[in-house]
């Protein structure tokens, strides 16, 4: 059984051999077709070849991602590269239309002359209850925030429940109580809903889907493509509290910290920001994938570079400590009540003051700026004085030991 005695039979990884073959064919075709467009100045052979390889990577990055997996994995839900591949290859492919293609937090539609934002979000969290909130808070605040960061005033929500057989009604009451309070706080009404029950073991207690509608003022023009060089990058408070709190609340890691989720409605903060900084380009709530993913998406969409100053990014010591212990970078950890905003550089101070004037934005900070080059990249000036590139993760950040 142990194979120390001989080297054993030998096999090849079919997927790897296939990848090599496919890539070789594609590269041959491409080289034949594009040999003449190479204009890079040649100063010796090696730098030229390196340049070619780097160009090849750039092309590969711009190519539409291919869904290779035969089954859905957890990485497809983590908000990183795998999620965008799934969305692109399956959902966009099936539903394609101009409103969906923008892939923003909500779709801006005009109905009878009124500009509306329509959004939906599903909530699965384990455990259902955690320090600072529960799935009910998330379900309301998450959808309120998707509307708010689109610049809309949230009005009405729907709520669909998938309940697991055996879930204590008392727990459900707690969740709906949280939803009612969160809705009141955000000034929205839950006006329609649906209930399904699945067999025990088929859901983690309960899943909730909410959809929301809000109205958009005539003059609001926000877009992830709108960032331009000279703009300022802000966050509304310390990052990563929610993600770390939930990770620890699962109890599997046996780690304790006095942390609570940051779940909160951002509608007032967003409204204050838009009023104080008319040059606001885009707002995003930094949920799955964290601040890093939001910035990477904006840098790509706007074809700009975003330069972040690591020392300026607010992170609570406990979040930093848990991050060190588990090998996780807080920049990739989810928040549920924090937003990233890109505003005209001239509005930076006014924007910061407006955010800090609200209790939910008391910890707001100016964390970086937008530059022209290199397009599509997020650069981090490290606190140590170096520079690194902040890339998209493939899936969730996982606790690591090495």
């Amino acid at each position: 059984m142990s194979r120390d005695d001989d080297t054993g039979p030998e096999a090849y990884a079919a997927w790897a051999e296939e990848a090599v073959r496919t890539a070789a064919t594609a590269e041959d075709l491409r080289t034949a077709a594009a040999e003449d467009v190479r204009t890079a100045p040649s100063d010796g052979d090696a730098p030229d070849r390196e340049r070619q390889v780097l160009d090849r990577i750039e092309r590969a990055r711009r190519r539409r991602p291919r869904l290779r997996e035969e089954r859905v994995t957890l990485a497809h839900g983590a908000g990183g590269k795998a999620t965008s591949t799934l969305i692109d290859a399956v959902f966009l492919e099936a539903f394609r239309n101009p409103l969906l293609e923008a892939l923003t937090d909500g779709a801006a539609v005009t109905v009878g002359g009124t500009r509306l934002v329509f959004t939906t979000d599903s909530f699965v969290v384990s455990p259902l209850f955690f320090p600072g909130g529960d799935i009910g808070h998330l379900a309301v605040n998450g959808t309120v925030n998707d509307l708010a960061v689109c610049g809309a005033r949230p009005l009405f929500l729907s709520a669909g429940f998938v309940l697991e057989e055996g879930m204590p009604v008392e727990d459900l009451r707690r969740v709906t109580g949280s939803m009612a309070r969160a809705a009141a706080r955000a000034g929205v009404q839950i006006v329609t809903g649906d209930t399904k029950v699945v067999q025990r073991g088929r859901a983690d207690g309960c899943y909730i889907t909410t959809a929301g509608i809000g109205v958009l003022a005539e003059d609001v023009r926000l877009s992830p493509e709108a960032a331009r060089p000279g703009d300022a990058v802000l966050v509304s408070g310390p990052i990563g509290d929610h993600g770390v709190t939930v990770m620890l609340a699962r109890g599997e890691l046996d780690i304790d910290a006095d942390l609570t989720s940051d779940t909160a409605p951002l509608h007032q903060l967003c409204a204050l920001l838009l009023e104080a900084a008319p040059g606001t380009r885009v707002m995003r709530d930094a949920t799955r994938g964290g601040v890093a993913t939001v910035l990477a998406e904006i840098a790509t969409a706007s074809e700009v570079a975003i330069v972040v100053d690591e020392a300026a990014v607010p992170v609570r010591p406990e979040v930093a400590g848990a991050g060190e212990l588990l090998g996780i970078d807080p920049l990739y950890v989810a928040c549920e009540g924090r937003m990233v905003a890109i505003v005209d550089g001239a509005d930076a101070e006014a924007a910061l003051a407006a955010l800090r004037g609200h209790p939910l934005g008391a910890g707001a900070a100016l964390i970086g700026r937008v530059a022209a080059d290199p397009q599509g990249l997020v650069l981090l000036n490290t606190a140590f004085g170096g520079t690194r590139i902040v890339d998209l993760l493939v899936g969730d950040p996982l606790p690591r030991i090495c």
Binding site: V20, I57, R68, L74, T382, A383, I389, V394, C402
Partner: protein, 375 residues
């Protein structure tokens, strides 16, 4: 003192950088291998290459335990995980590592019960809580991690938790360094020694590197100032014509290592005659297996394993990259067949691998990135 922030001081870094630049002989280039993936991580996380002159190149070594696991071993682990009533446990690092037929994540998606743990003790805890299941811990890691696995096995034996087993894939760093040093096309000027491995094995086992191979090694810590000051110590040795083993990380690494940790490894495990490393091939006495006395905790004895050796595609040149002979972009499949989404070779598997790091960070010259970040 918190032993972290003190070693991330930008002011001290600038002074060190100036000393390092001054020690470099004009016209000479230096290649230092950081053996340990943790060092590679620190180097990228803090942007340490910005403090080094162009003439110093850091070569990323084989010290990432998940990257060197051969695909066949991953397939074996997945075979175990698919058995009825088995809960497979491992560190988060293992979840995306591809075998011949996919990764732990793929196996989990297909129905296997695979769970992430922070410590092998957490796997033992699951075994206690679920006596009707067989809980297997996929043990990976160098000498740093092996004592924790050994302690957990001893604890399981003491408590008689007989539904717990270990699939042992612990590897040892010295045979891997030897294999690299024996390579005829090697061009390295010195080593940054793996600090946390050394906390267990001490500094003495590296002495042959200085004595027989004439290369300096500095046992290095993991904060950014540790890396810079270790590079400085290596350059000083070269400038003074010395080749020695030095300990930059004395706050954590005793020269003799941790005797208790070595003892528990020896109690529970023994060296295998040989073991395959992705990218480096078969290396004798380079890994650990469970001793006969602990056979009842040894997943390799409990379960029937396919034991099929899965070869890397021939075009993959990880071995040369690992030895610093080739740069990532010089490999035939780099950036085409082999990307971070579908890593074909070990250097692309973890984000700390030389190729994955180059794929993510090497797209732009350091100067261009520096330029953009300052203006």
């Amino acid at each position: 003192m918190r032993f972290v922030d003190e070693f991330r001081d930008a002011g001290k870094a600038r002074a060190l950088a100036a000393r390092i630049a001054a020690l470099c002989e004009p016209g000479r280039s230096y290649r230092f291998m950081e053996v340990c993936g943790g060092h590679t991580h620190t180097i990228y996380k803090h942007g340490i290459e910005d403090f080094l002159p162009e003439s110093i190149r850091l070569v990323h070594g084989p010290g990432c335990p998940v990257c060197v696991i051969p695909m066949g071993r991953v397939d074996d682990a997945i075979t175990i995980a698919r058995q009825p009533d088995v809960i497979m446990t491992s560190f988060g690092d293992m979840m995306r590592v591809p075998g011949g037929q996919g990764s732990f994540f793929d196996a989990k998606a297909a129905g296997a019960d695979i769970r992430m743990v922070y410590s092998p003790l957490d796997a033992l805890k699951i075994a206690r809580a679920e006596p009707g299941k067989r809980v297997v811990f996929m043990a990976i890691g160098f000498e740093t991690t092996a004592p924790s696995t050994a302690m957990t096995v001893l604890r399981a034996a003491e408590e008689g938790v007989d539904n717990f087993a270990v699939f042992c894939n612990h590897v040892m760093i010295i045979p891997a360094i030897k294999a690299i040093l024996d390579s005829p096309d090697l061009r390295l000027d010195g080593f940054l020694g793996p600090g946390h491995v050394s906390a267990v094995i001490g500094c003495r086992p590296y002495e042959f590197i200085a004595r027989d191979h004439g290369k300096p090694l500095v046992c290095a810590g993991f904060e950014p100032l540790d890396i810079l000051s270790s590079v400085h110590m290596l350059l000083r040795q070269l400038a003074e014509g010395r080749t020695q083993v030095e300990n930059q990380y004395a706050r954590v690494v005793p020269w003799e290592g941790n005797p208790k940790a070595l003892r528990v490894i020896g109690e529970v495990m023994e060296p295998r005659p040989y073991f395959e490393w992705r990218g480096l091939g078969f290396i004798s006495h380079s890994a650990l297996r469970m001793k006969e006395a602990y056979a009842r905790f040894d997943a390799e004895r409990i379960f029937e394993l396919p034991g099929v050796r899965v070869a890397d595609p021939k075009a993959c040149q990880c071995g040369e990259v690992l030895k610093g002979v080739l740069r990532p972009w010089e490999c035939k499949v780099f950036g085409t067949a082999c990307t971070p989404e579908t890593p074909i070779g070990t250097c692309m598997v973890s984000s700390e691998g030389a190729c994955a790091a180059y794929y993510a960070f090497g797209r732009f010259s350091r100067e261009r990135v520096r330029e953009a970040s300052r203006t």
